[in-house]
Amino acid sequence: MEKVKALVYLTAGLFTLISGFVIYFVVLYRNRQLKNKQEQEKQQSAFRQELLKTRIEMQDQTLSRVSLEIHDNITQVLSFVKLNLALVNTPDEQQRTEKIAESRELVSQAITDLRDLSKSLSLDHITRQGLVKTIEAEAARLTKSGVIKADLATTGEIIPLGEQRELVLFRIFQESINNALKHANATDFKIVLQYIPEMFTLTLEDNGSGFSPAAASKGGGSGLKNIENRAALIGAVAEITSAPDRGCRIKVSLNPKTKDQYPNG
């Protein structure tokens, strides 16, 4: 009888041990799930904040560019039109016709410039037109303005990367243009967008004064750090290579297939 009891206890002990282990595992697993969920929420919140910051920066940059454009270009054109119209009172019929024709042409140019500006004022155009068209328009505008010669090359079949990721990529592009103009005094700027099924790369290269990466990291280099952080935010990797007098090259690579992790991707 004692042996039967011992056997029953032994069997019960074994079952308790297995059940205990499974229950402990379930509790541990749920804790891990909860912890992961919290971390994910934290990451998403940081992502949203950074995205908001990106949007504000883009708006700031666009507004200052618009202000500059109005001041340097449209105001000048319209002043010239005003001057022309003041000379219309001349008795010379031919000169009057010429002045009016010239004024009409200038007003037409001002209207075109204003239309372009109004397009760039809206942040929605990146959603509507996509990254390639937006960068293309920006490159054309930069080249036309004469501040820098921007060349764009696209390879592969263009696929949408998701609104938020394209917004961040466009901001990286803007940041590198800023660096090329403000710090590097570059005259040429090359933009390459490469689409292959497993990988998308955005390469931005200028012919400016360049910098030593070690010196840049010592001196803070918040602009470059921002590019790296923003790339990481959308699951991309940014490689920045530069040397004094040899320009700067920024290469952002990301896997388009991981877009489901990113909202609106």
Partner: protein, 214 residues
């Protein structure tokens, strides 16, 4: 035929049907699991025929022991993410197959003796595999509720089966000495029934879509 055997065979048949009906929606691991249940069912039916016709079911038990190990190891191979662990699973399949041949020829002849050596070795390996899979699950938790995860049910079934069957086999001589053969018999079928109920739940919860969503 005892009632417990009929219940067990009906259970096996039901789980096999569940596996085959849901076959197209199952993941690779689920498909292997479904076939493993069919294999166990076929082995059990053959076992009854051999017992009735030849009064010897050892060849079937030998065959079932190695097939069972290959099927379950293949499932673990599909489920493990770590390459080293995958290699270890393949190595264990090779080692156990070699040991199976040696055991069937020298230690426990194929046509005469129940292959306890193979069972003890494979059950120990199943325990290790299940613990490793539990560890992997903790390292990479999914978003979905654990009780809706097929892998959880399969792994719990394996841990339960491997540990309790090991215990049962370890105690066999003791039971025999004390004339508790009935206990071994019923305990054996109890373990198998619980194991296959959990396998059935695993097959019901397995879905390619769930794997994609998680």
């Amino acid at each position: 035929m005892p009632v417990v055997v009929i219940i067990y065979l009906l259970l096996l048949l039901s789980v096999s049907i569940v596996g085959m009906v849901r076959y197209n929606t199952l993941t690779v691991y689920g498909k292997v699991l479904a076939w493993s249940v069919v294999m166990v069912f076929v082995c059990n039916i053959s076992n009854k025929f051999f017992s009735a016709l030849y009064h010897n079911n050892a060849p079937i038990l030998h065959t079932e022991s190695i097939l069972e190990f290959i099927f379950y190891s293949a499932i673990y191979f599909c489920l493990f993410k770590n390459k080293v662990t995958k290699v270890a699973v393949v190595a264990s399949i090779i080692a156990v197959t070699l040991f199976f041949c040696y055991n069937a020829i020298v230690l426990q002849p194929f046509g005469a003796v129940f292959p306890t050596n193979i069972y003890l070795a494979t059950l120990s390996l199943f325990t290790i595999f299940s613990l490793l899979l539990f560890r992997q699950m903790l390292l990479y938790p999914l978003k979905i509720n654990i009780v809706k995860q097929s892998v959880f049910w399969f792994n719990t079934a394996m841990l339960f089966y491997a540990t309790t069957m090991f215990f049962n086999l370890g105690m066999t001589n003791y039971y025999s000495q004390h004339n508790w053969d009935n206990f071994i018999y019923y305990f054996w079928y109890f373990i198998l029934c619980v194991f296959h109920i959990m396998i059935g739940i695993a097959l019901l919860n397995d879905s390619q879509q769930v794997q994609l969503d998680s």
